[in-house]
Amino acid sequence: MPDATGLELLGRELGDAVLETVYFRRRATILIDPTQVRSVLATLRAQGYTFLASVHGVDHYPEEPRLGVLYELLDMSRIDRVAVKLRVPTDAPEVQSVTPEWPTADHQEREVYDMFGVVFEGHPDLRRILMPEDYEGHPQRRDFPIGGEPVHFTHNDPANDAPAR
């Protein structure tokens, strides 16, 4: 991880794309403007963060903007990590896809789209990856019903409604 000062310097490199830098428990995070994700990741790659370790989604319900996307970057020569975060609202959940530059993001962006409904513009094949293609809704959103089947347990068995002994 860059230290707190290193993170500030890294943020300065990125210019006005940076909304906030957070250094918490030895973990460096940069919160960025969602429209500039491609240029931010390109700049960080030039700084040595050449490995996109993970792309994942977050739902910050009930805060707005609700949906978050996290990009975990790794500098493999310095063993140095930085996390890039962005937030988009649910009524316009569009983010530029980074798949053209980072092919590893392909399936991960599809998963974030499937589970959270974040639309990645410029993705070559943005389809659902885990749920059936005709599935409605994005099940990892926190206001999505958990679903499932009613199960006959001891506590909801009408035969057990007799008064306690």
Binding site: P132, Y135, I146
Partner: protein, 201 residues
């Protein structure tokens, strides 16, 4: 066949069979007793059910952690070969028992249904483990219980069930097939007459 028939004839009449000399020319009560001791009568249906129930060909279909217990049921300690169920088949065309070992996702359900439809009649289904019966700890948007798309004959509870439990389930199914060969899913689901026939094709 001719030899067997001759052998049976001699057996009933008390002639020498397989080199052993049996009491010759039994008559009356002695002959009755001789036949009672040596001849077994049954119906063809019961004989077929007996044969079927002692040689299920399970379709190896492990979906999750239950599959590990299923393998162990086939392994040396439990050894379902003792009962004649060890021939796990990779093709549904050769199987007559599907053991759903694990959780069934909504996306997997149509595939399983298709495999089941490809199995030849008569066929049976065992739902192994909590996930596939009541969806267990994964009772959420992603799963579907097996009863919604397959006529399940035996549910084996547990998370996962031990190999002994699966054995018990298979032996229950064996008993069902032996004692009540008509208790297939078509009977239970009022689907008699929907059997596929080569003439329909």
């Amino acid at each position: 066949m001719e030899i067997e028939r001759a052998g049976a004839h001699q057996l009933l009449r008390g002639g020498p069979v397989d080199g052993r000399t049996l009491p010759a020319h039994l008559e009356g009560a002695e002959l009755e007793r001789h036949i009672e001791e040596r001849v077994l009568t049954t119906t063809l249906d019961r004989a077929v059910a007996w044969a079927r129930s002692n040689s299920f060909f399970p379709l190896g279909f492990g979906l999750a952690c239950c599959a590990m217990e299923q393998f162990h049921a086939a392994g040396p300690r439990m050894d379902i070969a003792r009962f004649g169920f060890e021939a796990f088949r990779a093709s549904p065309r050769q199987a007559d028992l599907i053991i759903l070992a694990g959780r069934v996702s909504i996306k997997m359900a149509p595939i399983i249904r298709r495999l089941y439809d490809q199995m030849l009649e008569p066929k049976w289904a065992i739902s192994m483990g909590a996930c596939c019966s009541s969806m267990g700890v994964f009772n959420n948007y992603a799963l579907v219980p097996a009863d919604k798309f397959l006529p399940i004959d035996v549910h084996v509870p547990g998370c996962p069930p031990r190999p002994e439990a699966l054995m018990h389930g298979i032996l229950k199914l064996r008993k069902l097939v032996q004692d009540d060969p008509e208790a297939g899913w078509r009977e239970r689901y009022d689907a008699l007459g929907t059997e596929e026939s080569p003439l329909d094709a």
